[in-house]
């Protein structure tokens, strides 16, 4: 291999490996759509949740690469470890891989010993929680019957605590923007969602997750709304983490759909808002824009809570969405008029994120069909019937309550079609008016 080729491999290799991981995730979503792929006596357990984690991990990896994060090979290795943890059917192996992900996270410069130790805490909590399940239940492979016997309050509390610490909930206590470690957060949130494979949670656990998730989402959105532009991405990441935990707390098909969609949204918001400059391309990253991905996530949160009969949470998440919509909208609305010229990296990142947001928002029915419905179906053993978000054929999405009655609707495709028709009509009317003058 020539030195030029070696240099190219060093430069582009991590991105190439992460892109392969993304393709693997999409392929797995297709292969494991009907039933999980189980190999080696349950040691490998690849299902729809694994596929979702692979896709999101690859998304975070590619975003990190696009943002020019240091040590790209290390970041790619962390992505692979999260993916392996999601593919592992063995609880101890998954926990150990999560610890490995934490080990690969870059340590903040000049961090105290305590701060360095704290970096390990979320993954440590999640790994300990998973290990407790195996130890108590006597079955370490989560795909096998009897694995749920080990799920108790201590293990769930540890995994929930790990997830909250990993998404950066301590930032709320310290009133400081949370430090971003998206892959550790993804790993810990995976561990939390994986618990639904083991069986249903009891009401106390659900209430704790609902309260924590809703509170974190609202508080993070409140903080994001007043944060300086450089801190918007971490706060909105925490808001999304709150949505995932709240979705898990709802423990319904609708809640899991919300959690999955919020996970998918994470890389996209990081890409657009990590180095934000006032520009109009940031509009689609605001939940104020109907049919954008953040808006659809907000709608899913409100709809899932309403379908579950938790109307107070629905309104709390509605308020959180309004507040979370403010920072990107502020940046977009205060943008100076566009000047023709070379596009800087921030503009390219914002444009890419905006395009992805529009695709993920308008394509939400496809995302639900391809990625999230299989996820809900495969975690069904641990879910309650209080709410489902389903496809509204060729119209958009519909949220149904326990009695299968619609409680919320977002006819996104019908809305988009009507908007196109109305825009065309208005344009023709304006042109005719101009011709007359």
């Amino acid at each position: 291999m020539s030195s030029a080729q070696g240099s190219l491999l060093r430069q582009r290799g991590p991105a190439f490996a992460t892109a392969l991981l993304l393709l693997a995730g999409l392929a797995l979503a297709r292969l494991a759509r009907e039933a999980p792929l189980v190999r080696a006596g349950g040691l490998i357990h690849a299902d729809a949740l694994s596929a979702l984690v692979l896709v999101v991990a690859a998304g975070h990896g590619l975003v990190g690469y696009a943002l020019g994060a240091g040590r790209p090979w290390r970041s790619a290795a962390a992505c692979v470890l999260v993916a392996l943890a999601a593919l592992m059917g063995h609880l101890a192996a998954a926990g150990a891989l999560l610890i490995g992900v934490a080990a690969l996270q870059p340590a903040p410069a000049m961090a105290s010993l305590w701060a360095r130790a704290l970096r390990w805490l979320p993954a440590g909590c999640a790994a300990l929680g998973l290990a407790l399940i195996g130890l108590i239940g006597g079955e370490w492979r989560h795909g096998l019957p009897g694995a749920g016997a080990g799920l108790n309050s201590a293990s769930l509390a540890l995994i929930l605590l790990g997830a909250l610490l990993a998404v950066g909930a301590t930032g709320l206590v310290r009133a400081r923007a949370p430090e971003e470690s998206p892959l550790v957060a993804l790993g810990c949130l995976y561990a939390l969602l994986r618990l639904f494979s083991l069986g249903p949670w009891n009401l106390g656990w659900l209430f704790a997750a609902l309260l924590a998730g809703g509170g974190v989402a609202l508080w993070a959105a409140w903080s994001a709304a007043a944060a300086p532009p450089a801190e918007v991405a971490p706060w909105l990441g925490l808001y999304l983490g709150g949505l995932v935990v709240a979705g898990a707390g709802l423990a319904s098909g609708a809640g899991i759909t919300l959690a999955g969609y919020a996970l998918l949204l994470g890389p996209l918001l990081r890409l657009g808002l990590s180095n934000p400059q006032p520009q109009r391309a940031l509009w689609p990253l605001s939940a104020a824009v109907p049919l954008s991905a953040p808006f659809v996530a907000a709608w899913m949160g409100v709809a899932a809570a309403a379908a579950g009969g938790v109307t107070v949470l629905a309104v709390a998440l509605w308020a959180a969405a309004l507040l979370a919509a403010l920072p990107p909208a502020r940046l977009a609305a205060s943008a100076p008029p566009a000047v023709d010229g070379e596009r800087g990296p921030a503009t390219v990142a914002a444009l890419t994120a905006a395009g992805l947001s529009a695709a993920l928002g308008l394509g939400a029915p496809l995302v639900v069909l391809g990625l999230l419905q299989p996820l809900v179906a495969q975690l069904q053993a641990g879910l309650t019937p209080f709410g489902a978000i389903e496809l509204w054929s060729w119209a958009g999405l519909i949220a149904l309550d326990a009695a299968r009655q619609p409680v919320a609707t977002i006819p996104s495709l019908a809305l988009a079609a009507l908007m196109v028709i109305l825009s065309a009509l208005c344009w023709v009317a304006l042109r005719l008016g101009a011709l007359k003058r």
Binding site: W222, A288, W299, A306, T311, W392, T409, L418, L422, C426
Partner: protein, 244 residues
């Protein structure tokens, strides 16, 4: 796919005549004049042209109002509010979170009451007058709070066609429970066809007059009304929660 295309094909009267199209343009202009008389007209101009006008117009087009031809794809409160508030959101360049919270908190509390009273967020549910008295009171108080919150929201909002359409949409959302109540009360006295033609204008007019009346109340007194209605809604929510 054919369902969607069929529905869009049948939506032309909604798009061009009622409740969107011609009706929306005329009614929003009349409402704008009325609000200006009641001194709660908008002050700021909105940027964006066509892009600011289309979302509120689509929301108006999809409102579940008789006697328009039924449209199979209805909106819910969250989507309707997002579409209607788009012209306002376009001017969020200098918006502070405290102002945002103050503007939308009564609306969200009203939304909580409406959703709880109707058992869901769909706009069509607002047309169904509930049977239990507590739910009726909750629906009425929530619609009243929604209406009471509008003058402040509209006064600080954008002007122009987009602002007027937004104001009309927000008003018509509050008119839906009024229409439901009228339909339930007069169901046995009016033939269904006549009710379909007569009651929507009556409900809209009642809501518009009520909005004008509320707008003329001094700001401090209006804040007290909002507070009282908020407490009433929370109390009724507690009663409903206690009965479960």
């Amino acid at each position: 796919m054919s369902e969607l295309l069929g529905a869009l094909g049948l939506a032309w009267p909604r798009l061009l005549l009622y409740p969107g199209g011609l009706f929306a343009l005329v009614a929003s202009w009349l409402l704008g004049m009325w609000l200006a008389r009641c001194s709660c007209g908008p002050t700021a101009q909105v940027r964006g042209g066509l892009g600011a006008v289309v979302p509120p117009l689509v929301a108006l087009t999809m409102l579940p109002l008789a006697p328009a031809r039924s449209f199979p794809y209805g909106l819910d409160l969250v989507v309707a509010l997002a579409l209607l508030e788009w012209p306002q959101a376009m001017g969020w360049g200098a918006q502070r979170r405290e102002e945002l919270a103050r503007a939308y908190a009564p609306l969200l509390l009203a939304g909580l009451g409406l959703a709880e009273a109707c058992g869901g967020l769909e706009l069509t549910r607002l047309l169904r007058w509930p049977e239990p008295l507590v739910a009726q009171l909750l629906l009425g108080a929530s619609a009243a709070l929604w209406l009471a919150a509008l003058p402040r929201l509209l006064a600080s909002g954008p002007g122009g066609l987009a602002g007027r359409l937004r104001a009309l949409g927000l008003l018509l959302v509050a008119a839906l429970p009024v229409l439901g109540a009228l339909a339930a009360t007069l169901a046995e006295r009016l033939p269904a066809d006549l009710a379909g033609w007569l009651l929507p204008p009556v409900a809209m007019l009642a809501a518009g007059l009520a909005l004008g009346g509320v707008a003329r109340v001094p700001e401090r007194a209006r804040a007290r009304v909002e507070l009282v209605l908020g407490v009433v809604i929370l109390g009724l929510l507690a009663v409903i929660a206690g009965r479960r």
